[in-house]
């Protein structure tokens, strides 16, 4: 019904028309704009903010050289004060505009980081880099929540994981570092949860879905790199938790390539298990080298227990809820490898067991794909077997004729199975 029709039937009075017209118009524009700005305007505004921020920083850093220490400090505060004013303006007047919120969130990080780096220059701080970036992250965290800015939270995640991952000096060297790292990670998780709840189809949310599991994976690998016993436990249980999250109803509705948790969990679990099918890596790792009393004194022991207990809890929950054949096969696989490490086997038997496990896993996948007419699943199983064969061929000295024959027969099998499944799908259609 139009506004003029409403007038005809006396449903609204003429003096209301002016206001109601404008609201009708606004609604139309808002829905259109909402779709548009998501991609281009947002990206350009962020780019603009970054450029403006870095421009301000370079201008002030050139002129600062002539002034005294106190004056330099005062001038360094100017970008931060501008950032506060913009933040207040955004919060109180432009609260609905996502563009404003995102750009101001980025600008605050820039202004604070500039100020801190200038102070560290003034006091000749040399390798305080990790402390400075962590200070920057902690200080800007409240703004991430107030502005609800997902770009800011991505920058936060980057800063938090950067000093621990890439700068050689600060690989989680002490218990204190690990506690700080986990607290900082935990602090951003509520924001991630809110993002998941609010926006279902957002670019930043998709980036979050990839970045958060990656930071967790790098954290787990760094933590357990010294001890292979911990490595198996911690990594396998973490990746199983990932696959569990990927199987949840929230992620299952997405396409498989958007389901980051499932992909990361699946690939990492398989690569850890594949590592133990290789003779060299098992002998290098010395799984039973460390004693139990040593393990307890280490800090990663507690993290391992935490993740492992979560994994077992989830597994038991699934076991009660679902049928045995409906549970994700990767859970069985990782549980089996963990059990194998608990029973102290000699390395040869251990390798044979992991080989059999992967073979069984891929055979079940192939069979599953063939029955359910799923080409991706079937080929995934075939690729697993191929990798297994490659590892075996690299490990042992085998006659080149036999190598050639295995590759030839494998290629034939792949072609024939794919041909049959396509034929079957067409027949069913």
């Amino acid at each position: 019904m139009n506004v003029s029709e409403l007038l005809k039937y006396d449903k609204i009075k003429p003096k209301d028309v002016k206001t109601s017209k404008s609201t009708f118009k606004d609604e139309k524009i808002n829905t259109k704009e909402f779709k548009k700005f998501n991609s281009l305007v947002l990206i350009f505004s962020l780019l603009g903010t970054i450029l403006i921020g870095s421009g301000l920083i370079t201008i002030s850093s050139i002129n600062l050289d002539r002034f005294s220490k106190m004056l330099q400090l005062i001038i360094a505060f100017i970008p931060l004060i501008i950032a506060y004013v913009l933040c207040a303006y955004t919060l109180f007047i432009k609260n609905d505009s996502i563009i404003w919120r995102e750009s101001v969130g980025v600008f605050i990080f820039f202004a604070f980081g500039y100020l801190i780096s200038l102070i560290s220059n003034l006091y000749h701080l040399s390798y305080d880099f990790s402390n400075i970036s962590i200070l920057c992250a902690i200080a800007s965290l409240p703004f991430v929540y107030i502005l609800k800015s997902s770009t800011a939270s991505l920058i936060y995640l980057f800063i938090v994981s950067f000093p621990f991952d890439y700068s050689n000096l600060f690989i989680l060297s002490s218990f204190r570092d690990e506690i700080i790292y986990s607290v900082l990670l935990l602090a951003i998780l509520p924001n991630y949860y809110l993002l998941c709840k609010k926006r279902t189809n957002d670019v930043f949310l998709k980036i979050h879905h990839w970045v958060i599991p990656f930071t967790l994976v790098s954290f787990a690998i760094l933590m357990s790199s010294n001890n292979s016993f911990m490595f198996i436990f911690l990594n396998l249980s973490l990746y199983s938790i990932f696959t569990y999250i990927g199987d949840s109803s929230y992620f299952k509705s997405n396409k498989i390539f958007n389901n980051s948790y499932k992909i990361i969990g699946c690939i990492n679990t398989l690569s850890v298990v594949f590592m133990f099918t290789c003779k060299d890596s098992v002998e290098k790792l010395n799984i039973y080298d460390s004693k139990f009393s040593e393990l307890i004194s280490r800090s990663d022991f507690y993290y391992t227990i935490l993740f492992f207990s979560i994994f077992i809890f989830l597994f038991i929950r699934e076991f009660i809820k679902k049928k045995i054949q409906d549970i994700n096969l990767l859970h069985y696989l990782s549980l089996a490898v963990i059990c194998l490490t608990l029973i102290e086997l000699s390395s040869n038997i251990f390798i044979v067991c992991t080989n059999i496990l992967i073979l069984a896993y891929s055979l079940i996948k192939i069979r599953d794909g063939f029955i359910k007419n799923n080409i991706t699943r079937m080929n995934f199983g075939l690729i697993c077997i191929l990798i297994l064969i490659l590892v075996c061929l690299l490990d042992y000295d085998i006659d080149p004729i036999i190598k050639g024959i295995t590759f030839l027969s494998f290629g034939l099998i792949t072609l024939v199975t794919n041909y049959f499944i396509i034929k079957k799908i067409r027949y069913n259609e």
Partner: protein, 181 residues
């Protein structure tokens, strides 16, 4: 209305939180400079360089390596410091535990290991200077290379395991004074 008050309150809280962290950071550094105990560290060589628009001198302090098999890379170390008869600082002991008997110690990190000896880095081996002084500092550096009798040392103040570089001296004259002449 209630939500608006909440937003205002949280904004003020965030700003105050950020400023509080900043001022505590600055206060910490000022405290070390004003109330810390001062030491003179001999410097074997120094070289001005430029990275990312930051001009700095990298200082090689004396005795920056240890041969102890228990110490691994990225361990936190505690370096105890004492003033010797020449008036310069000398390192008395290096341990993984915090020393109890003296208050003059610095935290350091071991970062490079080869042939059983481990290098460690003290937290005050970089001296930043201003862009305008780059040419003068280069000429001073060239003079120092020619004349090996010149004594170069860094003035460092230390408190609670933290050390800050205050100034760089060449033959008891501050490098900044030399430039301004």
């Amino acid at each position: 209305m209630n939500k608006k008050i909440l937003i205002r309150f949280s904004f003020v809280f965030a700003v105050l939180f950020q400023l509080l962290l900043l001022f505590s950071f600055i206060y910490d550094k000022e405290d070390i400079i004003n109330n810390g105990s001062e030491f003179k560290f001999m410097i074997t060589k120094f070289k001005p360089s430029n990275l990312d628009g930051r001009n700095y001198i990298c200082l090689n302090l004396k005795e920056e390596f240890i041969s102890d098999e228990k110490i691994q890379i990225f361990d936190n170390l505690f370096v105890s410091i004492k003033e010797n008869s020449d008036g310069f600082a000398s390192i008395t002991s290096i341990s993984k535990e915090r020393p109890v008997d003296t208050s003059d110690y610095v935290k350091a990190i071991s970062f490079h290991s080869r042939y059983g000896t481990t290098n460690y880095m003290l937290p005050f081996n970089i001296f930043y200077f201003k862009e305008v002084y780059a040419d003068e500092i280069k000429s001073i550096y060239k003079k120092c290379i020619k004349d090996s009798s010149k004594k170069v040392y860094a003035l460092v103040s230390i408190k609670n395991g933290k050390g800050l570089l205050k100034d760089l001296f060449i033959d008891d004259v501050s490098i900044m004074d030399m430039i301004e002449k």
